[in-house]
């Protein structure tokens, strides 16, 4: 900033000296202005390139502080690339203390010039799931606007995020068809995430008619590029014969690829395959290994299955306490099977002190979610008057619920109560 810029406007205005004599024709003035702009552009380009070299350690030692210094010089001259890079530096605290407000400021300058990366990054900052409370309020509408501008320029990441916003109805009404439109554009450009998301749309019949074959096609394209979600989904398609002929071996192959990339669902499915010997020889040790990896990532199904392995002593020494612990983790996530299992542990006092009250609590949670065996167990608790007041009506209610799902023991119990229940 020059000293002149610091002066109050009034002094500057009085000080305006117009050297009219030096003004040539309008054509001459235009020519001079272009030459000046060009020179400045060249300077800005050189500064940006130097900043880039420092940021990425190309030809010079990597130095973020030095990088932002050069970016700042170019950015102040209106260099869109430098403004975008500066936004990134502020957003990620590289060379500066992190300052998301500053980041947005610089991204905006570049985005207004049509810089696609800046538009995308701006969308990411404004469309963030959580409000950081740092002066950058979440604004889905704005995020969508910037994603769209970048997406229209063919920026695939922006196309996917825009598609996802439509898919989840963020910043407007949920619109599967619009979501599919953007996924498809990204997919057509060979973007793996776009291919995976398009596959999901076909898999679920969202925005397009359900078509497992088409889903498998897109999952395969994504999987071939090493996309873990795509690999898991393709594995699932083979596992269940959806859109491809059922082939458990092929399923395991894709699960393994995704599992190696820490995809929790694939790890769980792989554990399940080893547990049941589907597509691989049964191997409890391997099953436990994969259940564990998925369980540590917090996947409720895996936690529940790991609990069952401890309970049965498969691949691990039998340990009811450990089993109950894993069931609890899964149950607390609202996973019905785990809630039922935990209820059972309390009823039988396995791994936890026997506690009918707790058993009833967990059976009820499972039963409310429609877990048939849980419903029967709850009915039994009413029938036996354990911790709840004996109540044959309630018992019959839950037996019927379970019987509706074809639970055999519930049918027995109903018969004993003298209720002739027919589906």
């Amino acid at each position: 900033m020059t000293e002149r810029e610091n002066l109050p406007a009034i002094i500057v205005a009085q000080d305006v000296v117009i050297s009219t004599t030096q003004r040539g024709s309008l054509v001459m003035r235009g020519l001079a202005a272009f030459q000046e702009n060009k020179k400045r552009e060249l300077d800005a380009d050189a500064q940006f390139n130097l900043g880039y070299a420092y940021e990425n350690g190309k030809g010079v030692p990597q130095d973020h502080k030095e990088a932002v210094k050069w970016y700042l010089l170019a950015a102040k001259q209106g260099h869109a690339g430098a403004q975008s890079s500066l936004g990134y530096a502020y957003g990620h605290g590289e060379g500066f203390p992190q300052d998301r407000k500053e980041a947005v400021k610089w991204y905006l300058l570049a985005a207004d010039q049509g810089h696609a990366t800046a538009q995308y990054n701006l969308g990411c900052m404004l469309g963030c799931m959580c409000d950081h409370g740092d002066g950058v309020p979440q604004n889905y509408k704005e995020a969508m606007k910037w994603y769209r501008l970048a997406a229209e320029q063919g920026f695939t990441h922006a196309q996917i995020n825009l598609g996802l916003m439509y898919y989840y109805g963020e910043g407007g009404d949920q619109d599967y068809e619009e979501a599919v439109k953007w996924f498809r554009l990204a997919a057509a450009q060979g973007n793996a995430d776009g291919q995976y998301n398009l596959g999901c749309a076909y898999d679920n019949g969202e925005g397009v008619p359900q078509d497992y074959k088409e889903a498998a096609k897109w999952f395969r394209l994504a999987a071939a590029q090493g996309n873990a979600d795509g690999q898991y989904s393709l594995g699932y398609a083979y596992d269940h014969g959806e859109g491809v002929p059922q082939d458990r071996k092929e399923a395991v192959k894709w699960y393994l690829l995704a599992a190696d990339q820490d995809n929790a669902k694939a790890q769980h499915s792989l554990g399940y395959a080893y547990d049941h010997g589907e597509g691989v020889p049964q191997d409890y040790n391997e099953a436990v290994k994969w259940f564990q990896r998925a369980a540590y990532q917090g996947l409720a199904e895996a936690q529940n299955n790991l609990g069952l392995m401890y309970q049965k002593g498969r691949g691990v020494p039998q340990d009811h306490k450990e089993a109950a612990g894993w069931h609890r983790l899964a149950a607390e996530q609202g996973y019905a099977s785990a809630q039922y299992s935990l209820g059972l542990r309390y009823k039988d006092g396995q791994g936890v002190p026997q506690d009918y009250k707790m058993a009833v609590k967990w059976f009820r949670l499972a039963a409310d979610q429609g877990h048939a065996t849980g419903q029967w167990e709850l009915g039994k608790m009413y029938q036996d008057g354990r911790c709840v007041e004996k109540n044959d009506e309630q018992a019959a209610y839950w037996f019927q619920k379970a019987a509706e799902q074809g639970n055999v023991r519930a049918l027995e119990s109903l018969k004993k109560l003298g209720i002739d229940w027919k589906k």
Binding site: A9, Q14, I18, T20, L26, M28, G30, L31, F34
Partner: protein
């Protein structure tokens, strides 16, 4: 075939070739002129008229400042200069109509040139009808040049009159050879003129501006749009300055 007939054939084919070259050169020149005129119009419509507005605001600011300090001679002179600049810019951008050029001064030399021309090529002195028509045409050009006060143009017509191949009417080989030689000389002269005009045109500011802008546009830029944005920004700054100056008044 007689040697002079062979020479005539050679000369006539040279003439044809030269005629083709001159036509091409003239077409190129005229096309460039039109393109430049179109570009100029575009430039004045986008940037030029904004420059003119800028100058108009500057003139207003200067006027206000001159009124604030009536004893300041520099301020008065400055205001006047600014107003002139604003007027010139507005004229150039076509925002206001330029004053018509003053009528030309009739100098004794100009009169002399006209007399010479009239004496030499007056239609009444023609002996044949085609010659009379040719002279009438030439005299019309001389009259126009005189009205413009364009002495060199009259002198040029006189010079060319004597060398005009059309003056040769004979159909014999000798006459045709002379006619062809004159025509070739005339074409060479014309070619030189076209090239000169082309060179001169390529030296103009507007040509350089056109080139600069079209190069940038070819790379996908919008230099005129960018300049316009820049100027609009300057305009709003000037408006604020003018307001401040008025409040000080």
């Amino acid at each position: 075939m007689l040697p002079e007939e062979q020479e005539l054939t050679r000369l006539e084919s040279e003439q044809t070739e030269l005629e083709e070259q001159v036509t091409t050169a003239e077409l190129t020149l005229e096309t460039s002129k039109t393109e430049i005129a179109q570009f100029q119009h575009r430039y004045y419509q986008t940037a030029g008229r904004l420059y003119a507005q800028l100058d108009e605001l500057d003139a207003q600011i200067a006027r206000v400042q001159a009124e604030i300090s009536p004893d300041d001679a520099a301020a008065q002179a400055h205001a006047q200069a600014a107003e002139q600049q604003a007027k010139a810019s507005a004229e150039e951008a076509g925002l206001i109509e330029a004053q018509p050029a003053p009528p030309p001064e009739i100098t004794p030399k100009l009169k002399l040139a006209f007399r010479q021309a009239a004496k030499l090529m007056h239609p009444d002195r023609a002996t044949t009808e085609p010659e009379r028509l040719r002279r009438t045409e030439l005299m019309a050009q001389v009259n126009l040049a005189y009205e413009r006060g364009d002495q060199p143009a009259i002198e040029k017509i006189i010079k060319e009159y004597g060398q005009d191949p059309e003056a040769i009417t004979g159909g014999d080989v000798a006459s045709r050879i002379v006619k062809a030689i004159r025509r070739i000389a005339q074409l060479r002269r014309r070619m030189g003129e076209v090239q000169q005009q082309m060179d001169a045109m390529q030296q103009t500011e507007i040509f350089h501006l056109k080139q600069t802008i079209e190069e940038t546009e070819a790379m996908g830029g919008d230099p005129l749009g960018d300049l316009a944005k820049q100027l609009v920004q300057e305009l709003s700054e000037r408006k604020i300055q003018l307001e401040i100056a008025r409040q000080t008044q």
